[in-house]
């Protein structure tokens, strides 16, 4: 069986006249953690957002090439982007819980998309357990999510994404607004989630990429410079540009 859940073939992406990604071909392994690294403006977040059609929401953008998710081209005309976003969930840089109760943060998505859930209580519990938040919030499920700490809010956002039963989780700098302990909890969580999900994470923290990812892709000026096993990238990268970046010889 093909173990690549997402495949990109010669992908170009434009914001208006500006080309943000050039000729990207790469595959993402199933149940792997892949880190996307590179300096600001290199295209890594743009690429991440392409994978669940979040860039559709920006006017004047254009995608060329093929992005296959479980064998289907997600930019084909007959594809519903909402369905893609359900299967490819996303967690953002800043925790963004809904101004609702903790319980409703989790139940909102499944309810809204018309998924019939036999037992919402157990879905909420399961999602919160998966995000290692259950023990901290089980007695305050009807309290506002806004009262949680930043780290708890971010885990709630992960639980919210998991409640949609996605196959892939995209994470855009999920710990950059968190303290080291909350960061460690999220990193530990990523290791756990890898068993059931494919995770693609954009991070500016290179040590984080080294700690949690199986594969690392280095982007520069919209090009994929090097894509390799994380251990290889951080001990002996093939491309000089990658080495200059990860050792801090850039700019």
């Amino acid at each position: 069986m093909d173990s690549h859940i997402i495949k990109l073939h010669k992908v170009n992406f434009y914001y208006g006249q500006t080309q943000a990604l050039t000729d990207i071909s790469m595959n993402f392994g199933q149940n792997r953690v892949t880190a996307l690294i590179g300096p600001s403006g290199c295209g890594k977040s743009t690429l991440l957002r392409l994978l669940n059609r979040m860039n559709d929401l920006i006017d004047g953008t254009k995608v060329e090439g093929e992005i296959l998710f479980e064998g289907r081209n997600i930019y084909a005309p007959n594809i519903d982007p909402v369905e893609i976003r359900r299967k490819v969930g996303m967690v953002f840089q800043k925790p963004n819980p809904f101004p609702k109760t903790i319980y409703n943060n989790i139940s909102y998505g499944p309810k809204l998309t018309g998924v019939t859930v036999a037992d919402m209580d157990s879905l909420v519990e399961q999602s919160l357990r998966q995000a290692v938040l259950w023990d901290e919030v089980k007695d305050i499920l009807n309290k506002s999510a806004m009262n949680l700490s930043g780290g708890q809010q971010q885990r709630l956002c992960i639980a919210r994404a998991l409640a949609m039963k996605p196959d892939v989780l995209l994470m855009d700098e999920p710990t950059s607004a968190l303290d080291p302990i909350s960061t460690a909890k999220i990193e530990e969580l990523i290791e756990e989630l890898k068993k059931d999900y494919t995770i693609i994470i954009v991070t500016h923290n290179m040590q984080q990429a080294a700690r949690i990812s199986d594969e690392t892709a280095f982007f520069y000026l919209g090009n994929l410079v090097e894509y390799n096993k994380t251990e290889k990238i951080f001990t002996n990268p093939d491309v000089k540009q990658t080495e200059d970046y990860i050792t801090g010889r850039f700019g």
Partner: protein
């Protein structure tokens, strides 16, 4: 290829400092070997005692380099070439410190040998010693210049030293068989030869680490691997 500089100049300076310290330590050990051998060939016991007494400087420098490397690992979290350089530096400083100890061993044997009449003129030993000193110098040169070819050359010379050591052993064996009164001195000279041969092993160890630093490929103990 000319290395680009780090954005952080302090980081750059710290790496350079480790490199400079290694060069200095290398110079100290080369001098220790040369003096130890000269104390033997010139029968200069005072010089031998100086080698023994000055070993603490080598030990001190070794500790200092190791501490700097550990600090860099903790504080800078180096990757790629920087990581390979620092792990290489930790191992090289260990090799150099051991070379210093071996120079002390030679000096100690010289002190004993100088108290007795010469067994024979020293010809092969000084020859072997100059090859060994060159190996140590070359291995450090390979490090400083990041030069694979120089590292390869060090490995090639190593066999010559092994052969010389064998030859010296055989020759001393005949002395011992002919005259049992020569056994004590012959054994001491064998020790000297063996220590030189061990120094050559350490020089090769340094060259192997330099190869690792440049290529990322671990070439240590390759010849011992079963086919």
């Amino acid at each position: 290829m000319e290395e680009r500089k780090h954005t952080s100049l302090h980081y750059e300076m710290e790496l350079q400092e480790i490199k400079n310290n290694l060069i200095y330590l290398g110079a100290l050990t080369e001098k220790a070997i040369r003096m130890a051998m000269q104390s033997l060939t010139d029968r200069n016991t005072e010089m031998a005692n100086n080698v023994i007494a000055n070993d603490y400087e080598i030990d001190k420098m070794d500790k200092e380099i190791e501490e700097k490397c550990i600090k860099m690992l903790a504080l800078r979290q180096p990757t790629a070439i920087d990581l390979r350089f620092i792990t290489t530096a930790i191992k090289i400083t260990g090799h150099l410190e051991r070379i210093g100890d071996m120079a002390v061993n030679i000096a100690e044997k010289a002190v004993q040998l100088n108290q007795e009449p010469k067994l024979k003129p020293y010809i092969d030993l000084p020859n072997m010693s100059s090859i060994v000193e060159k190996m140590v110098a070359k291995s450090l040169d390979a490090l400083i210049k990041s030069d694979l070819q120089i590292a390869d050359e060090v490995r090639e010379i190593e066999q010559v030293v092994d052969d010389l050591n064998e030859q010296i052993f055989r020759e001393l064996l005949t002395f011992m068989m002919e005259d049992s009164k020569s056994i004590h001195r012959a054994l001491l000279i064998m020790h000297v030869s063996k220590n030189l041969e061990r120094i050559a092993d350490h020089a090769q160890g340094i060259a192997d680490m330099v190869t690792y630093m440049i290529t990322g490929e671990n070439v240590r103990h390759l010849s011992k691997e079963p086919n």
